[in-house]
Subunit: 142 residues, 4 copies
């Protein structure tokens, strides 16, 4: 799988478009063939009762990592849209930066299916949530 954009280009695209993500300074830490890792810097707004990272924040990390992966491989002119997301919460997510790592299960002509693992900087390497999701891809002229 060839990349069409590098990490900086994808990060700029997402920051420009996504008000919420841009505000928090989302960073794409790594983007290579078949893999993307993003980081959402910690903010007190991410916390839910029990002093853990909230579900919507973990969803955001999954969706952002998958979106970065798709953008990197398809390029900016293609508007991919999340079709569905299945998110499983595995452990309490201690406060810290939230990391999302996405990889492809399938990159088809019309559908990209991905997996994402979320962790926080408070416990590196501990997967606190797991997601699979699919993005509908726009028709391509080829």
């Amino acid at each position: 799988m060839d990349l069409k954009l590098d990490a900086a280009a994808v990060e700029a695209l997402i920051r420009d478009g996504l008000v919420a993500a841009g505000r928090g300074g989302m960073a794409i830490e790594e983007l290579r063939s078949g893999y993307a890792r993003i980081r959402l810097p910690f903010s007190p707004l991410m916390i839910r009762p029990g002093n853990v990272i909230s579900g919507p924040t973990l969803f955001t990390a999954a969706d952002t990592a998958m979106y970065a992966l798709v953008l990197g491989h398809l390029g900016p002119e293609l508007m991919a849209v999340t079709s569905d997301m299945n998110l499983r919460f595995l452990a309490k997510a201690a406060p810290g930066d939230v990391i999302g790592e996405a990889s492809f299960l399938k990159l088809g002509r019309r559908l990209a299916v991905m997996e994402a693992k979320m962790s926080t900087s408070a416990a590196p390497g501990v997967t606190v949530a797991h997601a699979t999701g699919s993005y509908a891809l726009p028709s391509r002229a080829d």
Copy 2:
């Protein structure tokens, strides 16, 4: 199914606990046996590219409606935790207040399984996203 808390009590609990939700003025519009409807007032932070409501916002609406439903039926002393969420995006969500309506598929002793439908005030009655999810329920002394 009997309620243990009414809408105002559940709303106060969620507002107190959830910084993010409280900021936006989340409201529980209806809470009755087996059903909850919540509203997230529109904010520009909800928008994603294409001028539609973002996925994380729709996730928040699903999760908040389900959490309100569980709290209402189980009472405040029980800390229910989202176990998994399956979210399907059905249509572009035009900007407006986001409404989430949750109902039970199952209220078991250890697991609550729920369904939620999301819409926005820009197109009342049009379901823009559908979710099913389960919450792990704490052990009860009975």
Copy 3:
């Protein structure tokens, strides 16, 4: 939503194609705009330990009901393919015929998203499993 095939035509198509389903005498009991109900006659092969209907049987009922719904609305020339299925088991399914009822969450140009509820003739009206699923639709000439 207009139907392109009636129940008998869809049943014949599925029986012809699907060896396993045909063997068991799957029946389409109702097919109307936006709704399909199918029945899998009871067989001892459906039972799993604990004397309950097995998960694969409930999956089959969900998938068959959704496939019948899609076929009825799109017609026979279109080969729809299951893209994903999310299945939740809600209660023990007492032995009996297995009924699946499917309805659309969305019938798009490229994706059909459906919901299905499963029950058995041993406890009519009791939903023992709930499913949501999506089918990829082939390109249409329009």
Copy 4:
């Protein structure tokens, strides 16, 4: 994670209990800490239109692999029950034996969350379907 049963013991348990699986001669090929691989020998009943392995067969492979993994780690006295299953179909599954490989995402006190990858002997190493699922675990006396 320690095993409480080896592959042969788990295979005997599943064969004894599960009529359908026993008939087909399901085999547990490998069972070690955190991992199980099962094989469903090819049968013409597995085929659906288009000469591909059917969805219910892939579901069976996922569920059997996960069940074997849970049984191996928890032992025979514990009756684990599938709570939900999310199955994604990634590629046409060419006819052959169906292999399911399961691993843990989480083995909690009350819930086991697993991932499974399915392939067929016609194309070793090609994942044709991916699943995540959770099993409710019975209360343990400790």
